[in-house]
Subunit: 338 residues, 2 copies
Amino acid sequence: MTSQKKPPSNLPGEFEVIRKYFLPLAAAYPASLRLQDDAALLSLDQAARLVITADAVVAGVHFFADDRPDFIARKALRVNISDLAAKGAEPIGYFMTIALPSNISEAWINHFAKGLFQDQQEFGIGLLGGDTVSTPGPLTISITAIGQLPKSAIQMPQRQHAKPGDLLLMTGTLGDAALGLKLLQKTLTLESEDFYQFLTQRYWIPQPRLSLGIKLVQNNLVHAMMDISDGLLGDLQHICWASGVGAIVRSSLIPFSPATSLLCQQKPDLLETVLTGGDDYELLLSIPKETLPLIKEIAQQEQIFLNVIGEITAGKNIEVFDLLNKNYPIVVKGFQHF
Amino acid sequence: MTSQKKPPSNLPGEFEVIRKYFLPLAAAYPASLRLQDDAALLSLDQAARLVITADAVVAGVHFFADDRPDFIARKALRVNISDLAAKGAEPIGYFMTIALPSNISEAWINHFAKGLFQDQQEFGIGLLGGDTVSTPGPLTISITAIGQLPKSAIQMPQRQHAKPGDLLLMTGTLGDAALGLKLLQKTLTLESEDFYQFLTQRYWIPQPRLSLGIKLVQNNLVHAMMDISDGLLGDLQHICWASGVGAIVRSSLIPFSPATSLLCQQKPDLLETVLTGGDDYELLLSIPKETLPLIKEIAQQEQIFLNVIGEITAGKNIEVFDLLNKNYPIVVKGFQHF
């Protein structure tokens, strides 16, 4: 479509940018038609249950405009892959629209595309199509990812499938990304360079638990599953609302990284940030008790921490208990984008 | 995901906006899971060929920030539906990510959603999922639309399927939207209020030729087909490049609306705008000669103008001939977004 206003740009033409930097991300995937047509053509030769998710990120809101281009690319892709992981979906491909401000250089795009390529290899997903436009505003990336439910899965785990008596589990450690963001915003400081690197990396490059999620769903082991993007307690509340249940979280069971442990010891107030902060992209699971041994075994094979952190109740509220079984006074308020 | 910076907003919370204004666009489509999960679940009960397209639009680039909200919504959706039309795909659903600046009001969103609802009814497509985020920049809308190829279609028409000897056809009239944009930009004036309304409306609300496109593909009548979004000659060049062919366009055969005819008579220079300007979203077809009668018949049933405007050649270039068979001197330069 014709632009009303074409911002000045250092880039070669649109088609040249697509050919040089985005085609290599798509060429190995026949459905992309080498990005040469108006649409992708995805042929499914038998019945399929497609899992489709869309997420957008904006510079200055979801990432820093001067973050490394490959980090920006990988996080934009990973937040979508994380949603596929939470539904146990095997990746098929993704569509990306990107609105580029005029100060973006060819080197920047090259670096950005390299980040996408790296993660495409890691997660087995390819670029199938999209749109490249200019913007007078901040860099904005929107990705729609498509996966499919494993054939053996009886159903997709949904937020509304949690049941009273279920165990509540999470992968990995909590709060690292939220503290990493605080470090980048300089509202928190830390002496250890190693810990600084670890926490900021957890913010920049979340780790979708894709392989684990797929195996759990292949084996029909979970009731509800979602990724923790808007904070543990906020996201748990989504499950509780959708399922009409309550939950007990035992804060002493929540796994912390050494860096987060140290910071929370130094500044106990940070515990609230850890419990409610976003961007972890770990999986939150509500499972029937009897599947725990097999789930533990799979997590071990995958070399992923997976811990019971509480349980689903027949109540209406989320209660957080500390080590002494005292109610931890916390307002459960999930992140909202505005 | 956590925002680094939450712009001030007049809106109720994110989830409230989704529940009040976007859920009604999705509720009738089971695949959306009522927008309550991390992903949509699209069950296909047999083999399918999915046609998937993604387009983004940005305020100040692709539309005016103060355009009517329902017009903005409908155009954002229609440019995607137009791509489905060009591939003859039956619509299934769409995913929308929308980045809202802080000055957007609840009334604006209501009006915007009403526009989407209207077009969903017209084109039989539903909202299946998406993401609503805030932006410090201009309103940005990204839509990924999914359709499927009719069962009877042998293949999807692609840009690379044009053959020497094919007839070149287009639906509707050319150039109205480009002149409508000039009127809105006040680089062109027009006395007739009726013509002004007509041309600006053609710019604001393109008419995807969906039903026609589907019938042509159902009946395997076309070789190549695409929508004219970046200008007739630019888009024709895409077909010629992809197919390794040339083309002759006879400008005297190109259908003009009365408004565009009048303007081109008054200002012959505008002919170049008409031939190269974008946003028409009419269909451009390359067809084997023998299917012309049946195509004409279908277009008549659909009450859509469909005219032969030239032919595909074994050459390499696009030549434009005028009424006297003279070469019209024109630089073929399709629109690029930067």
